[in-house]
Amino acid sequence: MWPVGGPLRGGLVVALAVWTWSLLPGAALPAAAQGVPVGTAQNAVGTLVVVRTDGIEHRLQGRGSLPLFEGDVLRTEAGGQALIQLRPGMPVALNEKTTLRLLSRWDKTTGTMRILRVRQGEVWVKAGDGARQLEIETPTAVAAARDAEVDLKVAEDGQSVLTVVQGAAEFGTPFGVCSVKGGTASVGARGAACTTPQPANAQTTVSWKQAVAP
């Protein structure tokens, strides 16, 4: 027979242990595919197609609240645009003919880094610090955004143009890294280091997102 309060006490101990463990640095586990939503799709001009890891497809047209999961592939069509909100507060806009996948990297020290793997198209992202940082991968480059607003356009051949609207972002290819500041743009192409950032009209570059902007 349990002593009075035994099971309850045991449960409290377990709960306390789990809670304490969750506070430890780096205690976060690798993100489980299709487990907990990592964000929501909130608005689409035209149709936003979301393909789950099991191949099931969902479509968002207009405003809504479609949960997004790790591993989802998001796709906009010609003339379409979409706005998604990644947790814990990172708005991402997709321009027309964009295909990307929601991924993450887990690191014991820093926890989970949300990643957009853009195959083709254009995205606008507003990243914060801490858990609201974001990385955008393309076939030829990677951009790391922290406290920054950026636009990344990926051509069919993988060539990638990073325009920083506000703040600064690191932009790397297998051949080098650039620090790109607000109001400048850099290009990453196959077999080459990123180009020296040049002045760019960032507001014009991101004007496309007005139709779906938060």
Binding site: R105, D107, K108, T110, V142, G158, E170, G176, G191
Partner: protein, 335 residues
């Protein structure tokens, strides 16, 4: 090449501090002392783990949870501090700290992440994703994916030339080995090699050695001409290749042949490839690796779930070490 740096969120402060201090150092390094003693690492596909064995005493010193599923291939850094493991079912690469015996990062590479190889300077890990026909290029400092390269159907083997100018990728579906120019990341050539090519390794002669796992032969590619220059039948389902010496004889190629439950020993002169010997081992040998001196071979067996240590001088088994379920790959690192 400049290095991504300064991002406090990218990896451990220690690693970043060390890399900054070393500034432009060509290899993956930190201020920590090198790992002492030799180690043998075994990827256990059905246990999702890596078994770590002392390379001298042949005792298991630990098991590392890969924090992913279907741990398949391994690559160890030159200094022995880092081990990278592909995970087929997860499509991820695990980064393992070999001192702590702990997985410290999990990196999404691509569907069916199959094999991993470090560039000669250890700055990048290249991962072949068999499910999407790509190579992912992972920065071994930041763990970021720096880019991808589209390759042929079913990339299963990956290695670099001695000078690092070329990468070689075997494609099961195309029955070819593709040559990639590492300066441009362009595919230069596809070399027909045979049925279901799989494992690739740089030989001690500077040539590229590969197995046709769907057939019965191994082959040799000359990086000078980028042609297949020799092949030899060794038996059904040749898996992997390591190199070693038998006394004065060698270097020899030691090939695990799953269909024979043997390691077949082949001379390495491409003008005169011939079978020298066959060594009985366990059931379905797959991974094989040799020590630096070429006197010991480590062979893992998918069915009997063990590692056999072979003395190349006597061609005899010195020890049998139980490992995890379905061991696929084994790599050795000596201090």
């Amino acid at each position: 090449m400049r290095r991504i740096r300064t991002f406090r969120w990218t990896r451990s402060a220690l690693a970043i501090t060390s890399l900054t201090a070393l500034g432009g150092c060509a290899e993956l390094q930190s201020k920590e002392p090198e790992v002492s003693g030799s180690r043998v690492f075994v990827a256990n596909e059905s246990s999702n783990s890596v078994t770590v064995v002392d390379g001298d005493s042949f005792q298991v010193v630990g098991t590392v949870d890969s924090r992913n599923h279907a741990t398949h291939d391994l690559a160890v850094s030159r200094d022995g501090r880092w081990l990278f493991a592909t995970n087929l079912a997860s499509g991820r690469l695990s980064a393992i700290n070999t001192r702590a015996l702990e997985t410290v990062a999990s990196i999404a590479t691509g569907d069916r992440a199959h094999v991993v190889t470090l560039t000669n300077d250890n700055r990048q890990a290249w991962v072949a994703n068999i499910g999407e026909n790509t190579i992912s290029i992972v920065d071994t400092t930041t763990f970021r994916i720096l880019g991808t390269i589209a390759v042929g159907k079913g990339p299963t083997g990956l290695t670099f030339s001695r000078d690092g100018r070329f990468a070689y990728v075997s494609n099961q579906g195309d029955k070819t080995v593709e040559v990639i120019d590492t300066a441009s990341h362009r595919v230069l050539k596809a070399i027909p090699v045979g049925t279901n090519p799989h494992f690739l390794v740089l030989g001690p002669d500077g040539r590229i050695w590969g197995t046709n796992t769907g057939g019965t032969d191994i082959y040799v590619i000359d990086p000078g001409t980028q042609d297949k220059i020799a092949s030899i039948n060794v038996g059904p389902a040749p898996q992997q290749i390591a190199f070693g010496f038998k006394g004065l004889q060698g270097p020899n190629a030691y090939v695990t042949v799953a269909g024979l439950n043997r390691v077949v020993v082949v001379s390495t002169d491409p003008q005169n490839l011939r079978i020298l010997e066959q060594i009985d081992v366990g059931q379905r040998p797959n991974g094989i690796s040799g020590n630096r001196e070429g006197t010991r071979l480590f062979v893992v067996h998918e069915v009997s779930n063990d590692l056999k240590v072979i003395d190349t001088g006597s061609s005899s088994v010195l020890a049998t070490v139980p490992v995890g379920r379905k061991p696929i790959r084994v790599v050795y690192h000596g201090s």
